[in-house]
Point group: C3
Chain length 155, copies 3
Amino acid sequence: MGTVTQRLERLGIVLPKLAVPSGNYAPCRISGTTLYVSGQVPRVDGVDAFQGIVGQDVSAKQAREAARVAAINMLAQVSRALGGDLDRVTGCLQLRGFVNAAPGFTDHPAVIDGASDLIVEVLGDCGRHARTALGAGTLPRAFAVEIDAVFEVRA
Amino acid sequence: MGTVTQRLERLGIVLPKLAVPSGNYAPCRISGTTLYVSGQVPRVDGVDAFQGIVGQDVSAKQAREAARVAAINMLAQVSRALGGDLDRVTGCLQLRGFVNAAPGFTDHPAVIDGASDLIVEVLGDCGRHARTALGAGTLPRAFAVEIDAVFEVRA
Amino acid sequence: MGTVTQRLERLGIVLPKLAVPSGNYAPCRISGTTLYVSGQVPRVDGVDAFQGIVGQDVSAKQAREAARVAAINMLAQVSRALGGDLDRVTGCLQLRGFVNAAPGFTDHPAVIDGASDLIVEVLGDCGRHARTALGAGTLPRAFAVEIDAVFEVRA
């Protein structure tokens, strides 16, 4: 059993089985050792959750939890693209975190920490990434956060 | 005549000749087999079009058409960067679609499908990409959508 | 003394010493010859500056200066990641510029030119990048702009 799988067990995280997108896009694309993941949202077991404006309908603390849930979904997508073997991930290179924030909201980094922390808890030090946290104007289905990322993987 | 050129003909799409940006940036940059394209907007024959807020001045259906037009402009930029040979494209890796949406708008994916569908129609299955669709706060010249992307190309 | 260092001297630019992020992310990540930089803001000597909404509290001209300052911070991060040797940079591949703009603001490119111009002044022609300029909904600590980028470096 790989290191990452052991960490997931220790953290009590079960990666969800996710629906394949119906449109003309893919959850992940791999080119060489670079893996690109589609934007992930805080759906829980396939059900929409964490919807609303952060700093208005959704607290910063709830949004941080939403970012963590979106990151778990992201790792589920990466795992599937790698045939279930997350030990093939050699790094998280870049993470973008978009917060569906109310005017005047300024603490995007604390929200996106929910995703960054989860990724490093699961992947270890190689999970530390270049990061951009910012506010979207609006988000699909009014989710509180959306994240996407680029990973480095063993070919 | 290459496969992509044949598909463009069959679809009745003529790639526009685009102006080179006047600023200190480039339409495309290539590093190894990775090609980065600058943000593309739905200008038609060099003339601004599809301007306004989606879900207010511009319908979701019009915005989807705007995303398609921006994707045609994107392929025109990629083609020029590859000396006119779009058959050198081996994949679309990542697409970001920004929608200039009104507060409360939630169907960004349907809008950006206009770009994703066009790219797959023209490039075939290798055009399927990791994708992030979201709402911008505002967009240059009030365009309804803006898209950028990363492609994989033969060196 | 390298070419880039000479250019910085001629331009009178001293790269600031920046704080290391406290969270689970990194200023830069390198994979092969690709370097990803975290989102940079227009902090001056570690002090927040250029805060407010562009086209309302902050003029377009001030925002352009903010973009220039953020680009200087970005080069400082890249320099540190490369052991102080910016001559290892062989290109700026992609730049994203997010403007904290008021509703109705449309001249994002002129703002982000502040960053693009600085990068080309310092790196020369290889600094020309694919670019996307757009408006954020909100930005961390209400900064007027935030930029991130992907560079090509000598391994």
